[in-house]
């Protein structure tokens, strides 16, 4: 029921004479650097043969994916918690990006702010009453009282809240129709995204963490769908499926960069040889071209720098946590819950801790992703891409190993992006000699997109079968 259970099957196969610990140590020393080197080479190859812009785009999303994978690895790899709701925490991070960075929509706030605030007060009142009732009542009476409060609260809240919603959503619906945000720097939202995700994870964990692994998976899957449904439909909050676009950036805009003299100088120095080689007349044109390309690359590299800093901080914290007494206890609980409980460990509390922490990391990554996109698009969140793909990253990279999760994030995102052109290439080979007017030909052109789903499933199954501990397996200490 926990991550290393996969490797138990492998262990059983091994003859008892073979010393597994030594074998692992030997190959793990070189494995990680080599794997990352190969990953870097693959990205460089994309840069050289496809385009550097694509390579940088892959790099940026890989960095974000690696952070997400580390968050999930904390939950699954350290603690054996089956979180199938990664998508929800990613979206909450995205919501934080809007709430923090979008300028407030004053018109909407003056129109509907009062009833919205009143709704909040009523909600707090309901929750407080319930908490109070749970502390003084017991058994059937308690259940009944809570039910009454919830129903009464619903009818009290409903008119006030729907008034607030209608008012806010009718303020310039084509452009705003929502309350906006706080207008603060968007990098702050990375922290806030983590806090949002942590808060919701705490709520979920309180309810669902007592459940066994499969139930937890189903429950978290359900909650993630609900979170997305709320974000999609509560237009007053973040415009729902109408999307919030044009979020402010933490890095310069290309168009401004192109005007800066220092940047033009930088580009001309960088490409000096190339500029020398062309004639006086075309030099100006070429420089402009290079500045445009350079600005785009510079922005991506700036993002990559920011993301790398976050990645390294979280990686360092995760590695420290894993090797601390806390991390050892986490794994002890994962490997043998009963024994850990017998030793007086509070399992539910530990699970709640690790669930909240992992979700917070995913929330941070979600906020980073929305920052990179510059827009929040609730309609695009789906579990295959935002939950199960992250799972593939962790399992393929090596659950329980932080570097494995990072590598998984890079590798799987790379495959996810590159599978589509690969699919197109395969389709082109198949349909090369076909008449473009036949239905079959036209049908084949649609195959390239789902090809990546196929590849993902295949990669996951192959790794599970032949390398069940992942590319960079968890280090098993024999002390």
């Amino acid at each position: 029921m926990s991550a290393p259970a996969i490797d138990e099957t492998a262990q059983a196969e091994r003859s008892p004479a073979a010393p597994p610990a030594i074998v692992q140590k030997k190959d793990s020393a070189w494995r990680a650097p080599l794997a990352f080197l190969a990953m870097g080479a693959a990205l460089a190859a994309v840069g050289m043969f496809q385009s550097w812009s694509v390579a940088l785009a892959i790099l940026n999303m890989s960095l974000i994916s690696a952070v997400m994978a580390m968050g999930l690895n904390l939950q699954w790899g350290y603690a054996g918690l089956f979180n199938a709701g990664v998508m929800a925490f990613t979206a909450l991070g995205g919501l934080a990006a809007v709430v923090v960075s979008h300028p407030p929509v004053m018109e909407a706030l003056t129109a509907g702010g009062r009833s919205l605030a009143l709704s909040a007060v009523i909600t707090i009142g309901i929750v407080a009453t319930i908490i109070f009732l749970t502390s003084i009542l017991k058994g059937r009476v308690r259940g009944f009282a809570i039910f009454v409060v919830v129903v009464a609260g619903y009818f009290l809240l409903r008119p006030v809240f729907s008034d607030a919603v209608t008012t806010i959503e009718s303020v310039n619906p084509a452009r705003t129709g929502f309350i906006g945000g706080l207008g603060l720097p968007i990098t702050l939202s990375w922290l806030v995204g983590g806090i949002f995700a942590a808060a919701v994870a705490w709520l979920i964990g309180k309810v669902a963490l007592g459940l066994r692994s499969d139930y937890l998976a189903i429950a978290t899957l359900g909650i993630s769908e609900i979170v997305i449904a709320i974000i999609k439909n509560e237009d007053w909050l973040a415009r729902g499926v109408k999307n919030v676009t044009g979020l402010p950036r933490p890095v310069p805009y290309e168009i401004n960069l192109q005007q800066e003299q220092w940047f033009v100088d930088l580009v001309s120095r960088f490409h000096a040889a190339q500029l020398e080689s062309v004639g006086e007349g075309t030099r100006e044109l070429l420089l402009r071209q290079l500045v445009i390309e350079g600005a785009s690359a510079f922005v991506k590299i700036a993002y990559a720098g920011l993301f790398t800093v976050v990645l390294l901080i979280i990686l360092a914290l995760c590695v420290r946590a894993l090797n601390s007494p806390w991390g050892r206890m986490m794994r002890a609980i994962r490997d043998n819950e009963e024994a850990a409980a017998a030793m007086g460990k509070n399992i539910t509390k530990r699970h709640l801790q690790v669930f909240v922490l992992g979700s917070a990391i995913i929330g941070i990554a979600g906020a980073m992703m929305t920052t990179l996109d510059g827009q929040f698009t609730p309609g695009t969140y789906n579990p295959l891409r935002f939950t199960f793909l992250i799972w593939v990253m962790v399992i393929v990279g090596g659950s329980g190993n932080n570097l494995g999760a990072v590598l998984g994030g890079f590798l799987i995102w790379f495959i996810w992006v590159e599978a589509e052109p690969a699919g197109q290439w395969i389709v082109a080979q198949i349909s090369a000699n076909m008449d473009p007017n036949t239905p079959l030909y036209r049908h084949l052109q649609d195959i390239a997109a789902p090809f990546r789903l196929f590849v993902m499933g295949l990669v996951l199954l192959i790794v599970m079968r032949f390398s069940p501990r992942g590319i960079l397996p968890e280090k098993v200490r024999h002390t």
Partner: protein, 340 residues
Amino acid sequence: MPEATEILNALVLMTNFVFVPALAYGSQLALGALGVTLVFGILRFANFAHGDLMAFGTTITILFTWLLQASGITFGPLPTALLALVPAIAATAIIAILIDKSVFAFYRKHRAAPVVLVIASVGVMFMLSAIVRFIMGTDDRRFTDGERFLVRAPEFKRWSGLDEGLAIQTTQAITVIVALVVVVALFIFLNRTRTGKAMRAYSDNEDLALLSGINPDRVVMVTWIIAAALATIAGALYGLDKSFKPFTYFQLLLPIFAAAIVGGIGQPVGAVVGGYIVAFSEVMLTYAYKKFAMYLMPDELAPQGLLQFLSTDYKFAVSFIILVVVLLIRPTGLFRGKVL
């Protein structure tokens, strides 16, 4: 006091918009949940690929429907898809067995933890959903033909003299009837036949079943055949009733799991009851009762809002809340199923 006709109007309204749709939807969920619960009972893991197995079965059904239609064969007033179900079930069963042999059998042999099989089923889910999209693309597809309605609203109005019409689509009636037949057949199989009893025995106590000489490979194979048949039927009925869209089948997974768990995992009766509980809760909580209330209340008390508890966008929340309540209060479900 409202008049008798007003009460009748209100009842017809409820039948038309709540009872009939919920009954059809519940039948589809029940069939899906039966498949999930059987796989869980015998193979002991929550199969995340079941939704996509349903989509796959439906895809094959649609292909055979087109083939039959192209060769001029139809099923009279009934949808041709019903004929196409037979070869589609066979094809889906073969695929399910192939998947088991190439993926799940390995982990069973090595007695891997159930959660490993769950993750493997995620891999299968990815691949199946890709194959479905390879074949069908991602668009909406309707593949129902034959008579569209069993009862038409205007005819009903003329016949009854009421303001409210009642419309029953052929697909809704077929869904309920087919589900009934399949469930009864499955129960006879499980309770009366030697293989069916062996399956129940294996689900009940694996070690003892082995000691009794029950062949596990055969039990597993029969389970996949039945699961594939149930998935194909449930998927095709859902597709006939609504329309075929690959992604909706993944979203059905949640209410289906909820139905299986509510009824008690591994309990076929529970899966059926759970399916209807989830369907009726979903439809009843997301229905706007305004018109219903207007029939029953005097005009001056006519309600302002829609009288809708939850927007239809939140129907997921219904299955989920049912799920959580059951898990917290009675984890074995209504019919004392297994606890995962």
